[in-house]
């Protein structure tokens, strides 16, 4: 479908509310650590641009993938963190003697992905009235290009474009970048817009 300015405004609003919810959730997980947010940046780009969408395709990343569906809407959601940001979060949340990239660290990343993606879906659900269910998360650790390329290679029936929401949160005197990629199935975006009265 063709995405106009009105659609982009709606996505920006969704990104803003979702990021606010996600920051609140992360703050709670980090024992009420203050987390400030920059206004999320929303980009819409053709699917084939995914592998390079986060900059250097050779950058090592951690990605948590979940499928959301319900009320006739289906989308794949991928939360991507640089490996450095992932390790930084894990070390704040796990006991010191745990290996950040061991079994418990991987488990934590999947739970973190589940909670943060649910924060965004909660915003989408509130805005549309749709009830969306998630599949269990799966985790990938690899170079961004290879990992994101494999996501679209496995998917059929996707819209021609994907949505990238770039978030920058500030905590522990450092910036933590988290990127959310939304890959709607054909017809899903139109259904969401129609539900919200934006055509």
């Amino acid at each position: 479908m063709i995405i106009n300015e009105c659609h982009k405004d709606l996505l920006a609003e969704l990104a803003s509310i979702g990021a606010g919810n996600a920051a609140t959730a992360l703050s709670q997980m980090l024992q009420d650590q203050v987390i400030t947010l920059q206004v999320p940046e929303v980009k819409i780009a053709p699917l084939q641009d995914i592998p390079a969408s986060l900059g250097d395709p050779e950058q090592e990343v951690a990605a948590v993938l979940l499928e959301a569906s319900g009320d006739g809407v289906s989308l794949t959601v991928v939360l991507v963190l640089s490996l450095q940001a992932a390790v930084q979060l894990i070390t704040r949340l796990l006991p010191e003697d745990c290996d950040p990239l061991g079994e418990m660290g991987s488990s934590l990343l999947m739970e973190l992905g589940n909670i943060l993606v649910s924060s965004y879906l909660g915003a989408l659900s509130t805005m549309t009235g749709f009830t969306l269910r998630l599949t269990p998360p799966s985790l990938g650790l690899d170079m961004a290009g290879a990992l994101l390329g494999s996501v679209i290679a496995e998917k059929m029936m996707l819209e021609d474009n994907f949505i990238l929401i770039k978030n920058t949160m500030h905590a522990f005197n450092e910036d933590i970048e988290g990127n959310l990629l939304l890959l709607p199935e054909t017809g899903s975006l139109e259904k969401i817009y129609r539900q919200m009265g934006v055509c």
């Binding site: 488990s107 589940n114 269910r133």
Partner: protein, 120 residues
């Protein structure tokens, strides 16, 4: 009477977090399950006084597992602990027989409050 709990969540990190909170609230963890099928089987085997149940899990989700456990034992005490806080899903879980619904992430106090609620 000993207070026993079965913790059901597909991620080891969340099971560890819940275990620490429940043990500090006087519960003995008698079992841990990673999906709904394990939850139902372990419930029948262990008959714990409490179950904490995630919703989004592989093989069988938490809502279906609650229904099967309640069908087996309508006195089962189940608290849902899930990141999916959408209203319709909360209602589904409560209609299935859950006694409370805790949205992840949570503070330990929120779990303690749910325990107090079921014990009253």
């Amino acid at each position: 009477m000993e207070k026993t709990v079965l913790i059901v969540d597909d991620t080891a990190f969340m099971r560890m977090t819940l275990k620490n909170i429940l043990v500090s609230n006087g519960y003995t963890v008698v079992g841990e399950g990673e999906d709904g099928i394990q939850a139902v089987n372990l419930y029948k085997k262990l008959r714990p006084s409490l179950v904490t149940m995630d919703i989004t899990m592989p093989n069988m989700d938490g809502i279906k597992a609650i229904k099967e456990i309640i069908e087996y034992d309508d006195q089962a005490v189940i608290i849902v602990v899930s990141a999916m806080g959408q209203k319709a899903l909360v209602i589904d879980a409560l209609n299935a027989g859950a006694k409370d619904f805790v949205v992840k992430p949570f503070q330990p106090d929120r779990i303690a409050e749910a325990l107090q609620k079921i014990n009253n």
